[in-house]
């Protein structure tokens, strides 16, 4: 009898960090930012880029998994980029976070009761009610979206689009 290999102890994945960047709205900024992550083999889990209140600046909100010390170094390197005005790791901050998702569930008309119950519970809106599929619009914290999607998965999610996390620091603190 051969001994079965010992089950590998699954290490907890490194924590998710949410980083906000305030940058010049110029060509190439996104590449410079992305290279700062990819050089270390980090994967950007989500990314939102949009104009800031003043048009010559843009906002980037990104999430990334990694050890705190490594991410701290990445944030310093980001802040060093000439086109980055500031970079802040908001992990553990009291900030307001929200994400939007569109999810398409393929399901005949007569099998939708449970799906609609889940949607109601999560305050999701039905934005398209077709004969073979419906589209739900979810919004809330990323964790809430994850939970809702987990419940919908058994019904067959055929398409999913998430906005990525948006974040704003509360009070007078800077995002």
């Amino acid at each position: 009898m051969s001994a079965a290999p010992a089950p590998a102890v699954e290490a907890a994945p490194p924590p998710i960090h949410t980083i906000s960047l305030f940058v010049n709205n110029k060509p190439g900024v996104l590449v410079r930012v992305a290279l700062t992550f990819s050089r270390r083999g980090f994967n950007i889990e989500s990314l939102v880029v949009s104009p800031a209140a003043e048009g010559r600046f843009s906002r980037m909100t990104m999430t990334c998994r990694g050890a705190a010390a490594d991410l701290d170094q990445v944030v310093r390197q980001l802040a060093k980029l000439v086109d980055v005005v500031h970079a802040i790791d908001h992990t553990g901050d009291q900030s307001y976070e929200v994400e939007i998702a569109l999810v398409k569930v393929e399901c005949p008309l007569d099998g939708r009761t449970q799906i609609l119950q889940i949607a109601e519970h999560y305050h999701a809106r039905v934005v398209d009610y077709g004969s073979e599929a419906l589209i739900l619009q979810l919004h809330g914290s990323s964790e809430k979206l994850d939970a809702c999607l987990e419940l919908l998965r058994p019904f067959g999610i055929s398409e999913l689009v998430r906005s990525g996390k948006l974040l704003m620091a509360r009070g007078r603190r800077v995002t």
């Binding site: 590449v31 600046f57 170094q73 060093k80 000439v82 005005v85």
Partner: protein, 573 residues
Amino acid sequence: MQAKRLPTGGELLVRCLEREGVEYIFGLSGGAAMPIFDALVDSKIQLILVRHEQGATHMADGYARATGRPGVVLVTSGPGATNTVTGLLTALMDSAPLVVICGQTITPMLGKDAFQEADVTGITYPVVKHSYLVKDARELPRVIREAFYLATSGRPGPVLIDVPKDIGQNPCAAEPADVELDLPGYSVPGRGDPTRIAEAARYLSEARRPLLYVGHGAVISGAGKAITTLAEKLRAPVVNTLLGKGAVDETHPLHLGMMGMHGTAYANKAVVDCDLIMAIGARWDDRVTGRLSDFCTRAIKIHVDIDPAEFGKIVQPHVAILGDARLVIEDLVEQVELGDTAEWLALCARWRRQYPLKYPKQGGLRAQHVLARLDALTQGDAILTTDVGQHQMWAAQFCRTRRNRHWLSSGGAGTMGFGFPAAIGAQFAHPDREVWAIVGDGGFQMTMNELATAQLHRLPVKVLIVNNNYLGMIRQWQEMFYDNRLSGADLEGNPDFVKLAQAYGAKGLRIRRPADVDRILREARAWRGGPCVVVAEVVKEDNVFPMIPAGASIAEMLIEKPRHRLAKPEGST
């Protein structure tokens, strides 16, 4: 009356460069850059035509390191631009201010695989401090001003400007003018935070075995004088990194020489035993710290740097002071008390006597001997540049740098082929100074085509080729760690370098015996008619010691070749 002709974008660009005080442009022409080269015909800026674009970048780098002023490069699109990548990396890793201007295909053809098109801004993102793709000639005055400011301020570095041919060719209504800098994401640290400086002063005054660890940042900011005053007041010994050579005079009694992988034994022993180590413009490189978990575990660490991203990158300091090294140290000197370090200095002096740098005096011509003689003859007055490898480490050990900006070597990138073109750049910057490129036979062959450039301008630059017909450092590692299984180390097929020099019209001299060293070096020094290549035919199999194997701790330093077989190093390279 005829209307005044509008300048082309190329002419505007060249006027902006004149406004920045550019003396020399190191470049190689090509189709996409022709409008800019054309504008140079009417400019007082001197164009130095090179033989390969890599040479241009290292010349500009040598010029920059020797003066502190930015080195300027002009090349064409596609392969012309990609040939600058090694030079950009070299400059970025060692914080040298370069402005590299590349021609590019015309704007309507961008991204359409035009002839000699390359996505140069894309290719170079990771090796520049910043870069620009100019799509409107009216932006040129701002772009040029920003590029020079970014290249030279804060932690210096290379900036690339990609200029499409139509931007250079077409008439443009803009004028070179004073441009207000608008860089909201960029700030340049100056003086340090007084609270941190006071904290550092307290630690320094209390330390019994303090050590000042001086890097390239000290050279760049001109902090040497202030550091010397600080060392004398604290009575603290000084060590420097490979690139920190010359900030503080290496012949100063408190100076223990270079630390790190091939540093002096006494410098490294001081690093192991110090109770406080202060990094001044240095970044705790792996060549310096050895195995990090064993590095100065009990010592207080103070870190002075102009780049906030360096704090905690490798070593978590007790005190981090953000600022210009010279300004920080000048403020610090005021606050420290006279050090009580007699015992510590006595210990360092004992190490210096016990473990001097040495090499076998028998068995043929040794690089160490040639370099020690060069040091004795030049007395630190010459600017020395090096390539990368054994000759570089021997030069660092045996040529003691007495003055700031007199030691130019590729440290971070470790670029073979750097030394000779860097010496050309330094010679252009200082026509009356003696400049020596100390190179190996391997590295020299990577950029020796620039002999044509040096000969054309009758530059009195000297090249000392430490010729062992090997990639010597590779051979040393294979001997020590790979059972002497030599792989890709033997440079069989080398040319006769003396004849090669002569083929370019340069002077060629050869040293074969130790007895010839002084005579030949004197002859080379006296020759001012153009470049002079001195080939030292040194013993083939010689090793650089002391040595800390990569990834080992400093305490495991090898003073001489061990009898036992060594494990393969764990360190990066």
